[in-house]
Symmetry: D2
């Protein structure tokens, strides 16, 4: 049988002292952490788009990578080879999940939607068979309604209802395919759902259409019998100047306002968080605090650059803070850690795809153990509990219960005067945090 | 009678060809624009804090300005002189509104709230009299619950209910004073309502307390009989690492989620918009599109710097785009343009306070006329209407009305195929915009 | 004869009251400003790459534009048609200059440099003939040594001398072609001359190679008899994480250190300035103050986005400040205003190329007149002269002449005590600046 | 004897498993790394300004900290107590170096320079005695020529020569005191040496004055017999809009241009690096590659905020990358790691000063060991050597030696054709880097 990664065997766990770049030091799938195998905590997924279709193009040059699976002249042949290469990769890497956009896996047939859908069906047949053969699962499916020129002004927020219709038709099909492949969720990332200039934009109408579209998606999900969650992935900008799904709090508010917050969860991407000027952990904490944490796009950006670099996550700090929030919120159910990341344009060898994923998986495995230790030791939770202890007392409780108003507060101050202040102890806590890194 | 600005007379309108730096070229208060005097459109306000209490201090040095009104040793004497200076300034500048924080106008008596409030009452007596004498009005009042060390970890989001109580007591008093002075609104800017590090923060509890606090404010407003709107002024960060009232959309979502959106409007500050990586106009459009546009803090930031420079607004572009949105949304009712701006640290003369305000007023006056012309000509509105015309047709209308779902959209696409695309014409529109600048 | 822009005639000057989007309101080529026709001041150039080869691709989708001149299957046929379209555009727009990269005008023949160069010769024959026919001139030529995958790790700063050699061979040919076409200058923009990660980079060796390369360029220029200046165009980052030619001051220092500052001038791009966190005018002022101002890439970025948007310049503020510096430094000699700008991805019609350039030309024409007025009135120059007047006195002059040291300064202070301080008057100056906008 | 830190004993090394927040896990002063005690590698210094004079003020509130040593009414009494507190702190913390500005240690006597200097002498007497008693050394001294209002428009770049004279007189005295205290170096940080707006600025004249001033400093240093290096500390902005000493490369170029590069080294601050949009390690690498690496201000900024937060460094990543460059460049001679860092505004207890420094020292100690391991293993150095191996071959060597020109490069390419490309292996290297963190 044809192999696309002849130089790579199944990646093995070799322990923390290994110096083999093609081995895990920390990710030991069956090792238990907090009573559950690491694999079940982390639920790693490989994304189809960057890993198999990305070739290193950037605004200053075309792709630098030459992939064997993309060589066939016939695009459907290439699509089939790519699917085979993907499952070889999944198996050798040792992940259980994958993710894809409709347009990643099968070529579009111009404006002929029927033929495009037929092609999709054919490739999904193959994917289904490979999933069964390899014991792989689909973490989530999604639609690419941003690359084709017809979506240049948005999909569900397009000035034309004709384009809105295309977006709807695409999502319908992609939801069906996701359902058929047993996908555990379905993601909406609003690629061009935003604007370039307010001079030509009806912001109100566009956002109303977005809400309408999401309602249609909920309706169709029910009709289809798809049980998994719908996720929205916030991003503040790029490619648009302003994207309506700016960040977790914005999206949450939008959903609440439109009666949709019970129907959606968030898919938080690390690099989108920092593009919105938030720490990755902030977005996760916001989502968790509001019962909206669904799944994660695990990558990292360069905070000194202003675009979505989608690098493989290798910061133990960021990953540990993320896992600390994820674990405290109960861990993933349908969600997981999808590597929405691509190798750098100079990383041209197929082996580099493995190096990137191994780095990311080891980083999150180490982070999982660190976060579990943080929880076990309770240093931070105890500190926080103590810091807010006043709210567990009589006076605090009555405020929280809505029993007091400004008049009672004023009376309290007049009686008690200046409160004692407590140090926030940030430096001490940061030092303690390094005990776990 | 003592004068604090002996070198300055009443600022006059001298028309566009004037080169007198102490004169308006564009702000002609009684000139009608769209059937209303400029003054009623713009509703300019001077802020007490920057203008009379700001001395040019920054993190690298103390104040550089020496103000006569702050020379008295007794802080209450200084407070009285400052109030006199302020009203002299208002009158000479020719504005009708002012704004203040409680702690701007009267010195705090340490932890003795009763004495602090007594001082406030005394100064408010003076302010009331001066308002009457000079025909001045209060655009809005607010509370400073962020400078005193007791608020170092937030006010209503403080880890201690004791501090929450102080915040409540302060807002109670400040609302009373605002009401007494006939204030047209009351502002909440969450100075330190956010966090420095998640390591010591209970984000959920803090934001729940914030909601609780705002409910108390609504209750007390009703009890007090205050009829003006409550405003929230978003800001994403600074002094905190993360401020809960990040931007217009975040705040709006928060209010909706907590059943407060009918009780509050937004006070949009230009510099806070850009700190949140939004154009000023974006924040205004968002607010207007959601019925949340209340008032404006008219200033400007330096987009190449990362802090709130609060400069006087002198960009005709930004001001015109702002006025275009404000006019289209119906203009100000209770709100206005408050110059939350301060002169640069090197602008040490009392005259510089006039130069800054004159620059800002002229900028917005010119912008008002430009925006009115844009509306009269209809170039942009017509373009937008045409661009979204499909939504006014049968198919678009049925989508908007919720009559169609994904299945109908798919059928539509299968029947109609690829839609025709229209240029977004951004370059042409930007060229046309320059016709109005 | 075939036309590529059938809907557009020669763009005419119609004066400031025109509302025709296909007409100039301000650019009147033969109108004299400060004793010279506007056309000679502004020396507008159209860039070949964005205008004729750019199709609106971005990292989230391929091109959205369909250009007739790129339809031929044979790439040399397309190259010829494109050159014809370009000259039709230049003529209809009414510019006198154009700019190009080697790879823009003729397709590369893979790794066969001889054939690639032969193709270039053929297309340059055509360009030369069209230049003569239309009375067009070449503002500058340049090399694209960043798009081809061989340059993925840099050109003259590549880890491999083989790639360095390719860069040298390309620049040699491009300088020859530029010389043959009568180019007035030659530009170096270091596309990927920088690094992605220090983990794999020898910064010292790379920057030494860059200096070596520039010395070779100087040598070859002399051998070739090319008399025009060599320009370096700074950019801080993108596509690289760090580009060695970060900004004007960095490049200048590098040139001085390597004995190259007499051989190069700077080509300042507005959007690169802001990516380096400088105002456009700052970069121009730095260059002018150090005798390094050569030419300008006239565009604008969105300061709230973090990448090189290369938008058409439509800010009268930025353009006026730029022209004020350019005029005070003596104006362009060999340089000019090259529109290194592209229409937005949604501006898909060929007419949009005209709208963009007309907007940019009108903006700079208006800016030229404004800056000339600023100079004629002398408001700002007089203020600056007065502010530094102390340096024209005895004490200042002696310091400037190197006659005094710290001991004399100390003695002076001990004798004179505290100096009087002067307001910086920023607000007044900004107000006055608006008199010219 | 009076103690200012009664709750803190000498901080001890307790090893990596300690969970005592008041103990070192990694900093073991006499432990040898690469043949030298950690203490000699790291040369930690405490800064006087933030640690003893900073009270947590920010633009939104005055100081939150109440320090016993600042309670005396007489400023000279407070100065004396502060010096005692400082030396108690140095001793308990276990550092060998400190740093100060002239104005940190003694109060200025208004415009009376003679009295100000007398006060300085008196306090320096005390400092000298305490240095001797405690075995402490001065890493460097410096001047505060930016806080006093007289410097509002710069010191050596002031529009007035009178202010330039003040700056010179201050530096003269501060150099004398530094020399007297055996300081190992002297730092120039250009607090307000830049501009707020180009509208009132003569950039050329100001930068020429800066060069003149630095020449005077060199002259006086020689006259004084001070043997230590002069350092310049780059910073791009804040408090100014633009600071002339923008970053390492800018400063280096400026020094070369003015014939000063042999007389100065760089003092690289981590937070200033990131404000200039560079990684900390980039600035160090640039300095090292150009023989300009002198000393380090060890802190860290928050990359999602836009101002100089000067936090204590707790990132093992940044510190390890920094130490890797420092060690490879030969390590510190006169320089060291000065904690130009302050505790957060909520860290109000004197103990927090210890927590911050202990965190920073442990971070750099761990980083030192990690970097030493990286060097011992040679993974990264070997990779880099291999990547650039072509330059060690015949062809590469001839290019480096200046033996070849563009013609020879072209001939080479025509003969050899397309070069083979090598992966940059960034993902693998980042994974390997985590082996050391
Ligand atoms: Co993603
Ligand atoms: Co991303
Ligand atoms: Co404000
Ligand atoms: Co502000
Ligand atoms: Co350019
Ligand atoms: Co550019
Ligand atoms: Co520093
Ligand atoms: Co700093």
């Amino acid at each position: 049988m044809k192999t696309y990664f002849p130089k790579v065997d199944r990646i093995a766990y070799e322990g923390p002292d290994s110096r083999n770049p093609m081995a895990f030091r920390h990710y030991n799938p069956d090792e238990e952490v907090m009573g559950k195998p690491m694999r079940e905590h982390l639920r790693f997924a490989v994304c189809f788009w960057h890993t198999f279709k990305g070739l290193g193009a950037d605004p200053f040059g075309p792709g630098s990578m030459i992939r064997e699976w993309l060589q066939p002249d016939d695009p459907m042949d290439a699509a089939r080879e790519t699917m085979h290469a993907a499952f070889e990769f999944f198996t050798k890497l040792g992940v259980e999940f994958w993710c894809f956009h409709d347009r990643d896996i099968a070529p579009e047939a111009g404006g002929d939607l029927a033929e495009t859908n037929r092609r999709l069906d054919e490739i999904v047949d193959l994917a289904e068979q490979l999933q069964n053969d390899r014991g792989m699962k689909l973490l989530w499916g999604t639609t690419n309604a941003f690359s084709n020129r017809r979506f240049m002004a948005g999909a569900s927020t397009n000035p034309s209802p004709e384009v809105f219709a295309w977006a709807g038709a695409q999502v319908k099909k992609a939801m069906e395919l996701t359902h058929r492949l047993g996908g555990e969720g379905y993601v909406f990332w609003g690629g061009r759902e935003g604007y370039e200039t307010l001079l030509n934009t009806d912001l109100k109408r566009e956002t109303d259409h977005l809400a309408r579209f999401l309602h249609m998606a909920v309706d169709y999900k029910k009709k289809l019998g798809f049980k998994g969650p719908l996720y929205i992935e916030p991003k503040p900008k790029e490619p648009t100047k302003h994207q309506y799904d700016f960040d977790a709090q914005s999206v949450h508010g939008f959903l609440v306002k439109n009666g949709l917050d019970r129907e959606f969860l968030l898919n938080i991407e690390a690099n989108h968080a920092t593009l919105a000027m938030h720490d990755f952990q902030h977005e996760l904490e916001y989502a968790a605090a509001n019962g909206m944490l669904g799944s994660v796009d695990a990558n990292i950006g360069d905070l000194l650059l202003g675009w979505d670099t989608d690098q493989f996550p290798t910061s133990i700090y960021d990953a540990t803070r993320a896992m600390y929030t994820i674990l405290r919120s109960g861990g993933f159910t349908t969600g997981g850690l999808n590597f929405d990341a691509h190798v750098r344009r100079q990383s041209i060898d197929p082996e580099d795809l493995f190096y990137g994923h191994v780095a990311g998986m080891d980083t999150f495995a180490r982070a999982l153990k660190a976060a579990a230790n943080m929880i076990a030791d309770g240093v931070f939770a105890d500190f926080v509990k103590q810091r807010y202890a006043g709210w567990d007392g009589e006076f605090g409780r009555r405020i929280e219960n809505g029993e007091l108003g400004f008049e009672e507060l004023e009376a309290h101050v007049l009686e008690h005067g200046e409160p004692e202040l407590q140090s926030g102890r940030q430096e001490m806590l940061e030092h303690r945090f390094n005990d776990y890194v």
